[in-house]
């Protein structure tokens, strides 16, 4: 779309003059085996329109039946977010026409959500910010439209559209925050930190694979700005925010855009906006003036949900250790500074390091490999650390081989390279490639003697008592053995012969 670029105010000026208020609505596809109201599988990536049945296609006469596991997951999310769990609530129909919605209404929750009134603490720098949670409710996902032709990828202007109903009916949880005022210039970072923390929380609960790039976690970002101590401004809702970085950028760019509007004497229009990944800015969507009347009413095809208190207590008792508590524990166990811990978390290495440590590696070694060599490889591949084809167990084995003296760091890097290249387990690679450190004196002695013979000047210096010069001969030995020599032992042998 070639809409004229909207004016923006420099960020620092914007947050000096105006006080932002943010709010986030996060949709999470639950990782249940089957859909919300039928028995179809939820697996991502199936051939279009193969994971469908009369119910999720909304065929005439079909009826929904609630997935108990989805209710359970939602309650667990609510409990982890410190929410009150409803003792009785209902689903509601949200009515609007759209081709990717098989029934032309969505089964959702309206004024009776399953979980209400909780919070999530997030850390931004040294600040702990409490984000209020308004509600957590359960609904069904829609199908997925693909608009072909036209410039915008949206239905308007498309030549034709394709709809895949595999996604229709996948259980979707919506987590809605209360408005978050008072974060000032940190608002974009707070937004990002919240989604990051929420994602970790959801992952720790095992209720979703929380993959933003596959859409199993999707964010709508509400932003408004107002003069300090004045009433809050009009908010916009930015959709299509599909990465953590985008969350931050979307808030930032909306603050700048709205500030320019207000500075220019205009007023912010309450509207839906779309985040543009390429430019990092938002563009206008439909305004609330054309907003739909969804005609919510209680879903008559379903009976109310009334989770027994004993069940909720059971679920509460069975909650796993949550990410914040876990981080505190690991930081203490590993003896890390706040900055080290933050680096580990930002690199997405926390789980990997923990699993590597669990496999017998020291925390320091595990950190060294994941944040060093492997982080570099991930960066080169443009992939997440966790997506590298190497397991914590393999990393642990490599570090164990280093500790045992079988490998040195250089060889260890070679072994990891081969693991990443899919050549198998570290031990097999070492055996197959003959990559073990050469430390038996017979083989080393030959290389040492050759090095001495080839470098008579250096040998003479060492004989004269300049032991530091031995380094050059060790280098020659290492070169001759293609790095496989035990450098310490080589040095010993050199000094023995030239003493």
């Amino acid at each position: 779309m070639s809409a004229p670029a909207e004016k923006v105010l420099a960020y620092d000026d914007a947050v000096t003059r105006y006080e932002p208020v943010i709010g986030l609505e996060t949709h999470v596809e639950l990782g249940t085996a089957t859909k919300m109201f039928c028995g179809c599988p939820t697996a991502f990536g199936a051939e279009p329109n193969t994971a469908v049945c009369p119910v999720c296609l909304g065929l005439p006469g079909s009826l929904p039946v609630t997935n108990r596991r989805a209710i359970e997951y939602t309650i667990r999310i609510g409990l982890a977010l410190n929410c009150t769990i409803a003792t009785w609530c209902r689903f509601a129909r949200k009515n609007y026409f759209y081709p990717d919605m098989p029934k032309d209404f969505q089964i959702s929750q309206y004024d009776e959500p399953l979980c209400t009134d909780g919070y999530l603490n997030v850390r931004v720098g040294d600040d702990l910010v409490r984000i209020g949670i308004e509600r957590v409710h359960l609904e069904e996902d829609t199908g997925k439209s693909l608009h072909v032709g036209g410039a915008t990828g949206r239905i308007h202007g498309a030549d034709y559209s394709l709809v895949d109903y595999n996604r229709a009916g996948i259980p979707l949880v919506e987590v809605v925050t209360k408005p978050v005022p008072g974060t000032g210039p940190l608002a974009p970072e707070v937004a990002r930190a919240y989604v990051t923390e929420l994602r970790e929380l959801l992952r720790s609960l095992g209720v979703s694979d929380v993959r933003m790039e596959e859409g199993s976690l999707r964010c709508d970002v509400n932003t408004s700005i107002g003069l300090p101590k004045a009433a809050w401004g009009t908010r916009t809702e930015t959709k299509n925010v599909n990465s953590l970085r985008s969350v931050e950028r979307a808030v930032r760019s909306e603050i700048q855009r709205q500030a320019a509007v207000l500075d220019g004497g205009g007023r912010v229009v309450q509207e839906t906006r779309h985040f543009q990944e390429a430019s990092g800015t938002t563009t206008s969507g439909r305004s609330k003036e054309e907003a739909q009347d969804y005609r919510y009413f209680p879903e008559p095809d379903l009976v109310p949900v009334a989770p027994p208190a004993a069940w909720v207590d059971e679920l509460r008792a069975a909650l796993p250790e949550l990410p914040a508590a876990r981080r505190v524990r690991l930081q203490a166990e590993w003896g890390l500074s706040d900055a080290d811990m933050a680096a580990l978390r930002n690199a997405g290495a926390l789980d990997l390091v923990e699993q590597t440590v669990a496999a017998g590696t020291t925390p320091a070694d595990a950190r060294k490999w994941w944040l060093g060599e492997l982080a570099r490889r991930a960066n080169e591949a443009g992939a997440d650390l966790a997506a590298l084809p190497v397991t914590p167990a393999q990393v642990a084995r490599v570090t164990a081989l280093v500790t045992a003296g079988t490998l040195n760091d250089k060889l260890a890097r070679q072994v990891l390279d081969l693991v990443l290249a899919g050549e198998g387990e570290p031990d097999d690679i070492v055996a197959a490639r003959g990559l073990a450190v050469v430390s038996d004196d017979g083989a080393l002695a030959v290389a040492v003697d050759e090095a001495i013979a080839a470098n008579p000047d250096i040998a003479a210096k060492i004989r004269d008592g300049k032991a530091a010069a031995a380094g050059a001969l060790v280098g020659a030995v290492m070169k001759a053995t293609r790095g496989q020599a035990d450098a310490g032992r080589a040095r010993e042998l050199i000094l023995e012969r030239l003493s």
């Binding site: 006469g61 039946v65 081709p99 095809d301």
Partner: protein, 507 residues
């Protein structure tokens, strides 16, 4: 047995004769197909007749019997299915142009259970479009005719099913009742029509009109036959969340236990009097006297909020239908209009719905859309739900005093085709007495109680029972039926004009 005799048999008789080998299911089925062919031009009860599938199903029953395999309770009994239940081997249109020719990929639970019970599905019957109406005049495929008087309506919305049973085209038919759509056509066609307790029979595969009201139920010529069909379709269905997970009330046993001595019967004060046809009130009064003479203890009971039932119903049912019928959007199945390559999806939806829905369906969608709109919800839908609660309480209070409640099933006998077609309010009044039980979700039955003297047309007695007390109303229905048939010297339907080639079509 002659073919004409086979079509006069009750379902219970057919089942016994097939099981006993006196007659083959194929013969019975062929007799009914012949009857259908003979009278359909006059009655138009069916939208689709599945002769081949029916004969195949019948032969399968005969083969099972020949092989000594166990037979279902309705084995070999021909049955007509309202065209609102999905069927994999027949179209399902709901009487609407928007679904013309749609063949569902799945069977309704009712369809499945009937097949399993051995019933022979003859075809799909006519109905008011999406079950909205009381005459079948709202069918996109033309009205059905009342076998008692072909110039009159057979009631609705299950009018095709009622007409088929009354015209001996099938001993049994399935209907659905949302505001009276089984009982009212049953009453005006002089047969038995039953609305089971809501949730007693599964709605899975019943194309929804109003989800919180829709109830599948039987139409039959005898109370026992209705009970047999009632039992065959009932019981918990995990595919329907609102289906009741409780034992099926012993309706067949009750239909065989035609005894009302000591039973407390309440006459609903609010359902009668002004606006009711005198002949209807006269026959109803006689039926009440009859019950008393049979040993029932009759009292009058007041249900003060019943007067608000009709307006509450005409907010709740349209509200639900406005949402339920949204899916007919031309995208996945059914009619598609205006898709010329330039129209947007939205325009195609709009054009299709304009062309595919009839006026009554549009009226109700608009009513319901309005009632659910932001700013009007509380005053309309919300208020109507409150009234619904009050009606439930009226029933609760009444059932503390009496075992069953009785009233006329309809305020009038069958009206002439066309008479109310342009007067929706007059049409809506046909369901005045039946709507309260739908709103409360309890059970109700209509059994013939005579002919109105002024027009010689059938009158129905409605018997209402508490939720899951379906067996009670069968006891009452069976007792009334037995006593009246004794008085009349045969079933009421025997007094209907004969239709068919032998007798000449019409009165």
């Amino acid at each position: 047995m002659a073919q004409s005799e086979l079509t006069r048999l009750t379902a219970a008789q057919v089942a016994a004769a097939v099981a006993g080998g006196q007659v083959s299911a194929a013969e019975v089925t062929q007799a009914h197909l012949d009857r259908i062919e003979a009278v359909e031009p006059a009655v138009h009860a069916f939208l689709h007749v599945a002769s081949e599938q029916a004969l195949a199903a019948a032969r399968a029953v005969d083969e099972r019997r020949a092989a000594g395999q166990p037979l279902g309770p309705l084995a070999g009994v021909p049955l007509a299915l309202k065209d609102v239940f999905t069927t994999t081997d027949m179209p399902t249109t709901c009487g609407s142009r928007i679904l013309a020719g749609w063949q569902p990929p799945y069977d309704a639970t009712v369809t499945r259970r009937l097949r399993r019970a051995g019933a022979v599905l003859l075809g799909k019957t006519n109905m008011d479009e999406f079950a909205m109406g009381s005459s079948t005049e709202n069918s996109a495929f033309g009205p059905s005719h009342n076998p008692w008087d072909l110039s009159r309506v057979p009631g609705g919305s299950s009018g095709g099913s009622a007409a088929a049973v009354a015209a001996y085209e099938a001993p049994l038919a399935m209907g659905t009742d949302t505001g009276g759509s089984i009982r009212q056509p049953g009453a005006v066609c002089g047969i038995v029509g039953v609305k089971p307790t809501y949730g007693g029979s599964s709605r899975y595969g019943l194309v929804a009109f109003a989800s919180s009201l829709d109830t599948p139920g039987p139409l039959a010529r005898t109370v026992l036959d209705a009970a047999l069909l009632h039992e065959a379709i009932s019981g918990h269905d995990p595919c329907d969340s609102t289906s009741v997970d409780a034992p099926v009330p012993p309706v067949v046993a009750a239909a065989r236990h035609a005894d009302v001595s000591g039973l407390r019967v309440g006459v609903v004060a609010e359902l009668g009097g002004e606006g009711y046809q005198p002949g209807v009130l006269a026959r109803f009064g006689e039926a009440v006297d009859l019950l008393e003479s049979l040993g029932a203890k009759v009292t009058e009971v007041s249900c003060p909020h019943f007067r608000y039932a009709l307006p509450a119903y005409y907010l709740i049912a349209p509200s639900e239908c406005s949402s339920n019928l949204a899916r007919f959007d031309a995208m996945r199945y059914g009619l598609r209009t205006g898709d010329d390559g330039t129209a947007s999806a939205e325009e195609v939806m709009s054009l299709t719905r304009a062309a595919g829905f009839g006026p009554e369906v549009k009226r109700r969608i608009i009513l319901g859309t309005y009632a659910l709109s932001s700013g009007y919800y509380d005053a309309y839908y919300g208020k109507a739900q409150q009234v619904r609660t009050l009606i439930c309480r009226d029933f609760d209070a009444a059932f503390e005093q009496v075992d069953v409640l009785v009233s006329p099933t309809t305020p009038t006998t069958a009206f002439p085709i066309g008479e109310r077609a342009d007067d929706p309010m007059a049409m809506y009044l046909a369901d005045l007495c039946t709507i309260p039980s739908d709103l409360a979700g309890n059970a109700a039955l209509s059994v013939p109680c005579g002919l109105a003297p002024e027009d010689g047309l059938p009158v129905g007695l409605q018997v209402m029972a508490p939720a899951l007390g379906d067996d009670r109303m069968y006891r009452v229905g069976a007792a009334v039926e037995a006593a009246l048939e004794q008085r009349w010297g045969g079933p009421l339907l025997a007094r209907a004009a004969q239709i068919g080639p032998a007798e000449g079509i019409g009165r």
